[in-house]
Homo-oligomer: 88 residues x 2
């Protein structure tokens, strides 16, 4: 399935940890957005790692799942970014 | 259709303008994410307003469209935020 993950993490240390987890599974496309194709199992694994790191009362992570990528249309205004793996 | 818009705007002034446009059409759910149901016509109008404000070589706006909201599954980890209309 195709997944888009957006997040607001209020602490720099937790933010870096969350990004490190997400980039193992998905592509980092904007400062607060990751996306990509992922299996249900891998996504569950990814989210369980994220859950261990975030503060549930301060942070916010949204996971948008689209079963069939054909149902999703992506349009870009301005630049299409991609962060290099070694950005962090 | 259901739309998720994420953005990286590098200039504070342009950022505020983009948010002002987006909140006329969608719900502000994270610092860099808006979402909601919108018609094709309204979305075209919204994006044309956004295009006039952003710097295409510096800013980045992603528009994810899902024709049928049934095809989209949203999961929230941590807090589910919503910004008040009068936040700005």
């Amino acid at each position: 399935m195709f997944v888009i993950i957006t997040y607001d993490i209020t602490d720099e240390n937790r933010l870096n940890k969350v990004r490190k987890i997400l980039r193992k599974y998905l592509f980092w496309t904007q400062l607060s957005t990751f996306e990509g194709e992922i299996s249900k199992g891998k996504l569950a694994q990814c989210l369980s790692e994220v859950k261990e790191v975030i503060s549930p009362s301060e942070d916010s992570v949204y996971v948008y799942q689209v079963e069939n990528p054909k149902n999703l249309n992506k349009k870009v205004l301005g630049i299409e970014k991609s962060f290099l793996d070694n950005f962090l």
